[in-house]
């Protein structure tokens, strides 16, 4: 009897003997209005559905995404234009002192390069003659379209960027994008005035590569970290730390011999690649208008044809 009375007393004072479990309803409870509760529940379900549809490349979701990006992008550029101008001015002012020394160093470099240019011109002519003699079938010439990086995602969730080269400028699905030093990524979305580039470091990126000297093939896959991983290496691979990695051109999506990076570390059957791209200062990019990529984008539009 005493126990029952004590339990009642405890309950009437609002104490609980056991810890309440955390339920979805208790999370929703503090949301004041009923429509907030409904929107919260519907919102979570809708978001999960959206993720699945986006991942499943549902056409309508892609179209919504492209049109929303087209609408939002000019707004973001307008908002940040004054801040960018000020920061650029400050940076240029800072660099003014170093300009004189840099100019002297460049003069020396130009003299050296002029000497090398004469030798290179001879080699190019010799190469051309040899190709003619052996009826060599070369890869198609690649046109270059230069643009700027508009947005650059800095989180670990996704590694992509929007660039100012769109369909109007000749951008197509699957075209490779380069910095001045190496491969940045591949175009995965094209709108009229911009494109989205999937970086080589993204978890969804997989590129066929070879080592420049030994021509050992592998697949370079991103994992959202700074260092993409080389997978499916040959068991008798001759790869070594410091070897240069270039695109193999297998599959026809990318032109061969685009520089990507160096091998930073080898762990048994896989290796880490250090990219040549300076991600921190990536501003100007070059889109390679490769003919094979163009053919592929047409195929992707009409896969049943």
């Amino acid at each position: 009897m005493a126990l029952i009375r004590l339990t009642r007393e405890v309950r009437s004072k609002g104490y609980s003997m056991a810890r309440k479990p955390v339920l979805f309803s208790s999370l929703v409870k503090p949301l004041k209005s009923w429509w907030q509760k409904i929107f919260f529940s519907v919102g979570i379900v809708a978001c999960i559905l959206f993720i699945m549809m986006d991942r499943g490349e549902v056409r309508y979701v892609k179209e919504i995404r492209l049109s929303l990006t087209d609408a939002i992008l000019p707004l973001t550029q307008t908002i940040f234009q004054p801040i960018k101008s000020i920061s650029n001015f400050v940076e240029e002012f800072k660099n003014l002192n170093e300009a004189r020394e840099a100019a002297r160093a460049l003069e020396v470099q130009v003299r050296d390069l002029q000497g090398e240019l004469i030798a290179t011109q001879g080699l190019i002519a010799q190469n051309k003659r040899l190709k003619e003699q052996t009826n060599f079938v070369d890869f198609p010439d690649t046109k270059i379209i230069t643009g700027r990086v508009v947005t650059h995602s800095g989180g670990p969730f996704v590694k992509s960027m929007l660039i100012s080269v769109g369909q109007e400028n000749g951008a197509r699905l699957g075209q490779p994008v380069m910095s001045e030093f190496g491969l940045v990524g591949i175009i995965v979305e094209v709108a009229s005035s911009f494109s989205r580039v999937l970086q080589i470091t993204d978890i969804n990126s997989q590129i066929p590569v070879v080592t420049e000297n030994t021509r050992d093939p592998a697949i370079m896959a991103g994992d959202n970290s700074r260092f993409p991983i080389l997978k499916f290496m040959l068991s008798d691979s001759l790869m070594a730390v410091g070897d240069r990695i270039v695109t193999s051109g297998h599959g026809g999506l990318l032109p061969p011999d685009i520089p990507i990076g160096h091998i930073a570390e080898i762990n048994g059957s896989s290796a880490l690649v250090s990219s040549l791209v300076d991600w921190d200062r990536l501003d100007y990019i070059r889109v390679l208008d490769y003919r094979f990529a163009d053919d592929l984008s047409q195929y992707l539009k009409n896969p049943l044809d």
């Binding site: 999370l27 929107f39 939002i72 973001t76 508009v150 989180g155 994992d223 959202n224």
Partner: protein, 169 residues
């Protein structure tokens, strides 16, 4: 008449200060060579802002606005549509749930709660990223961004509390 109009305008502006601050941070975080630098990993500032406003301005701060802001963030970063809204809603729901226990506590306790809430959110983010791409995402970069987000929280809290005081939201 003009004074009345300007007062009304300011009143409306005050109402959307939390949403505007999150939008600003979302755009700021994807700017190349922005104030934060074009670093590979930067703090998830929007998450801190959502936590702050969920605690301090829950009345006007609504779920629909969070979903829209999350989708804008997804569009800018290139994440799957719906990914960031899930993270925002998680933070919003937990901070609303624990608001009474947290709000008037000393700052170091609020900071501790934020580190727990954001920790859970980052685990969810990692799980979704890995699930969507059908492989384990690099946990190191998530851990680094989590640490940077937690470390940067006091600065953002100070900044947002000043904005809140200035416009008396």
């Amino acid at each position: 008449m003009r004074e009345v109009f300007s007062k009304r305008l300011f009143k409306s502006f005050k109402k959307i200060v939390p949403e505007l601050s999150i939008l600003f941070l979302a755009i700021l975080s994807v700017q190349p060579q922005s104030l934060l630098g074009n670093s590979v990993i930067s703090p998830f500032l929007c998450l801190s802002a959502v936590f702050y406003w969920s605690l301090h301005r829950q009345g006007h701060f609504n779920v629909v606005a969070l979903i829209i802001l999350g989708i804008i963030s997804d569009i800018l970063t290139g994440a799957s549509l719906g990914f960031t809204p899930i993270l925002f809603l998680t933070v919003f729901a937990i901070s609303s749930w624990q608001k009474k226990n947290v709000l008037l506590k000393p700052f170091h306790l609020i900071w501790g709660v934020f580190s727990l809430v954001s920790g859970l959110t980052f685990i969810i983010a990692w799980a979704i990223t890995s699930f969507v791409s059908l492989q384990y995402a690099d946990i190191g970069s998530f851990a680094i961004q989590y640490a940077m987000t937690v470390i940067s929280f006091p600065i953002l809290d100070w900044l947002l509390s000043n904005i809140q005081r200035a416009v008396a939201v």
